[in-house]
């Protein structure tokens, strides 16, 4: 397995956000993590990319409560649960965060360069930039525009492009289609399929379950911090209880 999460627990004070989950993603897979709002999907992605530990550090330093973070996360054969957030991307794991979060005051191309921050070889970064522009031509057209002025769809493309600039082995994407028009959603999903076709391993968090289940190799259903089901899209859709109670379909 490229990514293995083993008995992950996340607690903020008394609130249990993640309650002992284990999951894995194999090389080349497109795996989804779905579930109702507040299930803990984003927290899972934040935990594996070091952001929960980072937040814990801040809380401790400012003496504003504590976070409990337990479990083992292995990536590419190495444990990464105690690697600081800013070193995770070095290992080849990157998160395209919820709500896209481009650096709004920076231009489009500056955002992309920021994504390749750790690449010392400027030529290599430049090559990646061209690849991202090929994938998202709209970003090339708007390369000098301030990112805050982009439309939601463009910002999502930018956020994915920025994450790709680190040339990740595993790309985690948190709710890329949320807040977009149906047309743009489809475009985002097409791009994700294109990335999969290029051999990029993806862990995708989404609300748009019916579309996502057609794209993925495997899926995990998360609810109240627990994995309550997993399997192929078809298998999960066959299960009436899961379909109605947890996926709202």
């Amino acid at each position: 397995m490229l990514l293995e999460i083993d008995h992950l627990v996340v607690r903020y004070e008394k609130a249990v956000l993640i309650n002992d989950i284990s999951l894995g993603v194999d090389k080349g897979e497109l795996v989804s993590l779905v579930g109702p709002n507040g299930a803990g999907k984003s927290t899972t992605l934040r935990a594996i990319t070091g952001l929960v530990a980072w937040e814990r550090e801040i809380k401790r330093r400012s003496t504003q409560g504590d976070i409990l973070l337990e479990g083992r996360v292995t990536f590419d054969g190495e444990r990464i649960d105690d690697v600081p957030a800013h070193e995770i991307v070095k290992r080849g794991l990157v998160l395209c965060p919820e709500r896209r979060r481009p650096f709004r005051e920076l231009t489009v191309s500056e955002n992309l360069w920021a994504g390749a921050y750790l690449e010392k070889d400027k030529r290599r970064s430049k090559e990646r930039l061209e690849k991202v522009y090929d994938l998202f031509p709209v970003l090339k057209d708007r390369s000098r525009q301030i990112s805050g002025t982009l439309s939601g769809g463009e910002q999502q493309m930018l956020a994915i492009g920025r994450a790709l600039m680190s040339e990740p082995k595993l790309l985690c994407i948190d709710e890329p289609s949320t807040g977009l028009s149906p047309l743009l959603r489809q475009e985002v999903f097409d791009k994700i399929m294109q990335l999969k076709g290029m051999g990029i391993t993806i862990l995708l968090v989404e609300q748009e379950v019916s579309t996502v289940f057609k794209m993925t190799t495997r899926n995990y259903v998360l609810s109240s911090g627990k994995i309550i089901a997993q399997g192929s899209g078809e298998e999960l859709m066959e299960n009436e209880v899961i379909r109605k109670t947890y996926l709202g379909l």
């Binding site: 990319t49 070091g50 952001l51 980072w54 801040i58 330093r61 400012s62 003496t63 957030a85 800013h86 070193e87 995770i88 991307v89 070095k90 990157v94 998160l95 965060p97 979060r101 650096f103 709004r104 005051e105 920076l106 500056e110 360069w113 920021a114 994504g115 921050y117 750790l118 920025r162 680190s166």
Partner: protein, 287 residues
């Protein structure tokens, strides 16, 4: 003309101070009240070196800036960094630090007013107004520094990281930017700017142990007017306030003491009418 010259000089000086203050606030959310105290220390270091010890004035300036920067980094490492996430504590600690600097200066140099010689003497007159070469020199050097700073921020990888971190430190972390390292570097740049401002201003001003207070107030007004954390805002606001101040002094010659209160008034008005300032963005929650 008088307003123009002193507005430009004060404005560019304020810009240097305010940008330095904004930088470290943006990157690490550190409100460094002692910022202008570093500026005072640099001015006094030059006085000590060039006037008392007879060291070459230019060399004194260089030594002063380097020494103040090193001191700033030590202060950061041992005082600020451990409490960095605790805004209230940082505020109190840096106020205390400024007081300590003030007392040290008071004990070492007494409260007497001190002056540092001009680097170049002489003046020319434009429209009946005396312009000292020293004023032009200071203005030129400050302007050059502002340009260099702009290039650093806009054209280098370090600048990109500083701007990214200032905007969204969580995402900056995801991109592999090391927060503590950047905060340290930014603190160095910030204090170096304060020291540099003190160094180039020293010949044009009168040194006393309380000289950090007034620029602190005006600098805060600049930062609030420009928008907390916005570098562009600090720049524009610095010149606005620089000219306002010069105009006040010019229009009410006896009212020079009003400068601080004008700045404070502007600051309060901005806070009431448009708290995010000219260019600031209303702070978004980090999550």
């Amino acid at each position: 003309m008088n307003i123009l010259i002193s507005g430009l000089i004060t404005g560019s000086m304020l810009a240097l101070l305010a940008i330095g203050f904004s930088l470290i606030f943006g990157v690490a959310r550190i409100i460094n009240i002692a910022h202008t105290a570093f500026y005072m220390l640099a001015a006094y270091s030059i006085y000590y070196l060039s006037v008392r010890s007879g060291v070459n004035p230019l060399l004194s300036m260089l030594v002063a800036v380097v020494a103040v920067t090193v001191l700033g980094l030590l202060v950061y490492l041992f005082l600020i960094d451990p409490i960095r996430e605790h805004e209230g504590a940082v505020l109190i600690a840096t106020i205390a630090l400024a007081m300590v600097f003030q007392e040290v200066v008071l004990l070492t140099f007494t409260g007497d007013y001190r002056t540092v010689d001009f680097l170049i003497t002489g003046f020319f007159t434009v429209g009946g107004v005396k312009v000292f070469y020293q004023q032009m020199l200071t203005f030129g050097v400050v302007l050059l520094t502002l340009v260099a700073l702009w290039l650093l921020l806009m054209k280098t990888k370090l600048g990109l990281a500083i701007r990214s971190m200032a905007e969204d430190r969580e995402v900056a972390n995801l991109m592999g930017m090391n927060e503590s390292r950047l905060a340290m570097i930014t603190m160095g740049i910030s204090v170096a700017l304060a020291g540099f401002t003190g160094a180039v201003l020293a010949p044009l001003t009168v040194l006393n142990p309380y000289m950090w207070m007034e620029p602190l107030i005006i600098m805060m007004a600049v930062v609030v007017l420009g928008g907390m954390g916005s570098i562009k805002g600090s720049f524009v606001a610095a010149f606005i306030l620089g000219f306002t101040e010069a105009a006040v002094v010019f229009l009410i010659p006896k009212g020079a003491f009003l400068r601080g209160s004008v700045a404070l008034t502007i600051m309060i008005l901005v806070l009431l009418i448009r708290p995010e300032g000219l260019f600031g963005v209303a702070f978004e929650e980090e999550r």
